[in-house]
């Protein structure tokens, strides 16, 4: 059983300590409730707690409209992930290659797409490329920038994973006569991929957050659906809150999965 620094920052409290903690707990609960009450009052005094504005989200047609957006989000994210992750792996391998040129090219790609905002790439596709006669459908104007940027970040994740595989594995593979390429494919990569699985799920979360840029390209993902809904109903704060909550829930669940996977892997590593 291991303890961390956070668990010994304070002793098991004695009577005076317990009283102080109780007092501060009550105080903080009061402050938190006061803040919540102030927020609700602010909503109420501007007429935003009117049930009519909130109950619409239980209507089937509103839900179907939002679901259409969510489906767009999931489609875009899934496609981007399926293309970007293997591409990231290739980039990582290129970065680690002994061919200087290949390694340098991969490094340039990775550092470039990690250093600029995805929005800029989206604008390039939206506004710059049409000037050269290349116009993509809205769907691809969102997905391709997502793939480009995500490939760079997942390349770094894979590189970290490959580097995290114990040196001994490389040496053992060489000792039984595997070429560098065979060693990589048969010995190192399977272990590296298993190591980076939680980080890949987090990369999926990042892709999901990036998909909100459909708002800018007018592709029917969830954020843009919210914008359309607002232009119809004029319920700004309600719509945007509902949309945000949906994103929070999905990302929360995905992050939980990643953390659980990570914990299980660490437990297995500690036990072996």
């Amino acid at each position: 059983m291991s303890t961390s620094a956070t668990q010994v920052l304070f002793d098991a409290p004695g009577p005076k300590g317990r009283r102080r903690i109780l007092l501060l707990s009550v105080l903080s609960v009061v402050v938190i409730l006061a803040l919540l009450a102030a927020a609700l009052w602010q909503f109420q005094s501007n007429g935003q707690l009117d049930p009519g504005k909130w109950i619409v989200y239980l209507r089937v047609d509103y839900l179907a409209f939002l679901w259409q957006g969510l489906w767009g989000t999931l489609k875009v994210t899934a496609l981007a992930a399926v293309v970007a992750f293997p591409l990231g792996l290739l980039l990582a391998l290129a970065r680690l290659s002994r061919l200087r040129v290949l390694s340098a090219l991969a490094a340039v790609w990775i550092e470039f797409y990690r250093g600029i905002p995805m929005l800029l790439v989206v604008y390039a596709f939206l506004l710059a490329l049409p000037a050269f006669g290349v116009t993509f459908p809205r769907f691809w104007m969102l997905v391709i920038p997502m793939i480009l940027v995500s490939s760079a970040t997942t390349a770094e994740v894979f590189r970290a994973g490959i580097n995290a595989v114990d040196r001994g594995q490389h040496e053992a593979a060489a000792a039984i006569g595997l070429s560098r390429r065979d060693a990589m494919v048969s010995v190192v990569l399977p272990q590296a991929v298993r190591l980076v699985l939680p980080s890949l799920i987090l990369a999926l979360v990042t892709l999901l957050k990036d998909s909100t840029l459909g708002y800018v390209v007018s592709y029917n993902e969830l954020q843009f659906q919210g914008k359309t809904l607002v232009s119809i109903t004029r319920y700004l704060v309600q719509t945007y809150l509902v949309v945000s909550v949906i994103y929070i829930v999905i990302n929360f669940l995905l992050t939980r999965v990643a953390l659980a996977l990570d914990a299980r892997m660490k437990a297995r590593a500690a036990a072996s």
């Binding site: 920052l9 304070f10 550092e111 600029i116 905002p117 809150l241």
Partner: protein, 233 residues
């Protein structure tokens, strides 16, 4: 090139706004995030719970959704901020959640014995944190905090979607006027690359200053496997 020559003040203003958004957002995020981290490790359950809720909300909400909510949703409830401060608020709230988790991870890297030793010489909760734990935690926090900074730089671009006149907005406006998309893209890209690569370099300098001879793979790639802090868009 006319596009640049005739609009140098506007471009500089845009770059200045980007830098201001990033720096203000990051500095406030450091403060709020550290406070949240202290709340998360404190012995007071309601504070721990409130900080956890905060982190879960602002770690998982997409930055664009948050910015749109602040800039276009809050006026409905009477809170109308200038768009620049909406951007700063959004960047602060979002980055603070990641700073909090990174500080907490950093606190966890300090060996337990140090905290126990601090307790044994009578340092209280805040004393332990301030004199023993946080200074040592800082050494392992530098790289993740640099990544949060770069995330803030990238995030500041999204503020152009809520009409903040930072460099992305300026270059796209100029693009519409002059139809010189590639040039504008290069300018904006250069600005962001300078900020993010410069931030990474500065972080490297700071890290070498606080942990000489650390030899571990503490590059940006090394911390890419750390899952606990979550993914910053």
């Amino acid at each position: 090139m006319d596009a640049i020559r005739e609009n140098i003040p506007l471009l500089l203003q845009g770059i200045g706004t980007t830098v201001a958004l990033t720096v203000l957002g990051y500095v406030f995020a450091l403060v709020v995030g550290t406070v949240m981290a202290v709340a998360r490790v404190s012995p007071i359950p309601p504070l721990r719970w409130a900080a956890t809720v905060y982190v879960e909300i602002f770690r998982n909400i997409p930055l664009l959704s948050l910015l749109i909510l602040i800039a276009f949703g809050l006026p409905d409830v009477g809170l109308r901020l200038p768009y620049f401060w909406c951007g700063v608020l959004g960047l602060t709230l979002s980055s603070a959640a990641f700073v909090c988790e990174n500080v907490r991870s950093g606190i966890n890297t300090v060996p337990v014995g140090h905290a126990e030793a601090a307790r044994s010489i009578g340092l209280g909760f805040f004393g332990t944190l301030r004199f023993v734990v946080l200074p040592q935690a800082f050494r392992s926090m530098v790289q993740p905090l640099v990544n949060v900074f770069i995330g803030t730089v990238i995030g500041s671009a999204l503020c152009s979607a809520i009409a903040v006149q930072e460099v992305t907005w300026v270059t796209q406006t100029l693009n519409i006027r002059y139809a010189q998309a590639v040039l504008m893209f290069l300018i904006a890209g250069a600005a962001y690359l300078v900020l993010s690569l410069g931030g990474a370099a500065l972080g490297g300098v700071i890290e070498r200053a606080v942990s000489p001879g650390s030899g571990r793979d503490r590059s940006r790639a090394g911390s890419a496997l750390d899952v606990t802090a979550g993914a910053q868009a």
